[in-house]
Amino acid sequence: MKKTNTINLGGVIFHIEEDAFTLLQKYLSSIKDHFSESEGQEEIVTDIEARIAEIFQEKKVKIISSDHVEDVIKIMGQPEEYGDEGADDDKISDDPSLKEKVKRRVYRHPTDKILGGVCVGLGVYFNVDPVLFRLGFLVSMFLGGFGLLMYLVLWLIVPVADTTSDKLKMKGEPITADSIGKAITAQVEKAIDPETSQNALKIFFKWLGNAVRFVFDILVKLTKVLGFVLKPLLGIGFLIFGLSVTIAFSFLLLVLSGTFGISHHDFSGAIHTLKTVFETYPLPEMFVLLGFILLVGIPIFQIIYVGLRLLFNMAKQPNYIKGTLASLWILGLISVIVFGLYSISVFSEDARKDQFVELIEVKSDTLNISLLPHIDFYWEDRDLKIIDSEDSGYTLNSSVQLDVRRSTDSLFHLQIRKHAMARSYKEAKKYAENIDYNYILKEGELLLDQFFIIPADDPYQHQEIELTLLIPNDKSIYLDETLKYFIDDIRNVTRTRDYKMVEHIWQMRAEGLTCLDCN
């Protein structure tokens, strides 16, 4: 038993079975869609309807079944076929897939879906049960939420298989009149009997999908309402953020490019490092700067753009602009990464050279330690400072620190450890050996230079000096005020901080360095 409908086809009344009706309707609407841009759309469809009616009458069909409809579709052909033979020229180029070999493509399934149709689409593409993908996504959601993100991304970027051609492409089947007809028929059958291929797992996923969709819908509605209020606020936020980052970034660039002079201490380490790298870097400085500007500037630009869009309802960026910006950003990223790797290589090897001096001259029990004054260096300011003294052919560098430890014998010792970094160990060693450090030892007084000197030809290779003063047991030192920022983490019994250790006398006892005149 089958339900039939009555239809008026081209002015003639027919009885038609329900599945046949759906099939015919789908066929006629596919013709209508195909000619949606031609002026004679209605007329063409009416004429074709009339012809179909005529064919049915010629065959003396009483009740139209889906077999009849399939025959008629075979006779009349799919609208895609007319395009080649009849319609306007541009119609032919409209769908290149008709002429090219069909490649399987991932689509989201519009009807079999639970949530977005991603899993069914993947299942069809890889020819496996979509339940596998569903389980995979579900499980991965509990493993750090990676699957959720993945699903959302796929949902966004994978297109829906809207037309029958898309659905065929999804399976990698050729698009012909025959295959389209078959696909449509299959769809209709499925529409009529949707209960096929139902099982417990599928029902569970369907239920889950409905629940998720329900929450999603509420969220979307809520966002819409909130968005109305928040949009301008968010826009202003984006704008302020983008603009302030721009200002900060331009300031940084100005500093790095040396506009404010190299004496700007906070950045002098970075500036000198860059200077050394650029001395041997094969590409011009501008190139790296440009890459850096692209890398940082493009995201800032996009943030400002989004801010403006939220505020003023501006048009969306066309795809070619987005694409160009994205490629430029990647270029910038590559340029910066290459430069970064090169920079690391320039300072990859670390070498040091130790020099030990016995301070035999010290006869008193307490050794006074202070810094030698210098016209260009100040003890209050211990940031990296590098000065060229052209007349003497030397460069003065302030990276000197002092530590204090226990001596193994009864003498004061001064250990001068010279550091340098370079591309090779040999080079680094050479730079370390080139470092020269001076101090003055008088009776009971050690005067340390605030800087070391290197030949003016030597680039900045992170040269450093670590001084270690070794104190014999029961002897003491007096730390002058000038050492406040010169000493580095000196271990002592009271755990007194460096800056509080100065202007006191410290004695090396069995338990460690002890303050003799602190309260």
């Binding site: 003639v12 063409i44 012809r51 009616a53 076929e81 080649d84 002429k99």
Partner: protein, 129 residues
């Protein structure tokens, strides 16, 4: 006036499917141009309704699926080369009887000249030396 079907000139053994696709495409293009010419020629002999035209075209192997005809007729009619009148039918839906207009006849004679030139050109260029 006869319709010479140009497709018959090309009988080639086709080895692979991509060439097959190209051939199909070229054939379709050729047919498309000739089809209008043939429809107008058929109607020059007197009015006809689509099913008549279909019978003639199918016999000449010019069309594969019937749906092709309808958009063509509509286009020719919209360009003023054809008109139609309705006629009641005893056995089925009312029929559209198409006739060629004077514009259509002018158009057709221009096409005829072109066609003769083309046939000559094809004969000359495809002749085996």
């Amino acid at each position: 006036m006869y319709c010479i079907v140009p497709v018959n000139i090309f009988i080639i053994a086709i080895p692979n499917s991509s060439i097959m696709l190209k051939i199909e495409n070229t054939k379709a293009q050729m047919r498309k141009g000739v089809l209008e010419f043939c429809i107008l020629s058929i109607l020059e002999n007197g009015e006809a309704y689509p099913s008549d035209i279909l019978v003639r075209l199918k016999k000449a192997n010019l069309i594969v699926v019937e749906g092709t005809l309808y958009p063509l007729l509509t286009r020719l009619k919209n360009s003023g080369l054809l008109t139609y009148r309705w006629e009641e039918s005893k056995s089925g839906p009312p029929r559209k009887y198409y006739t060629i207009t004077s514009d259509g006849i002018t158009f057709l004679s221009a096409l005829y000249v072109t066609w003769k030139d083309l046939v000559k050109a094809v004969r000359l260029t495809t002749k085996k030396i």
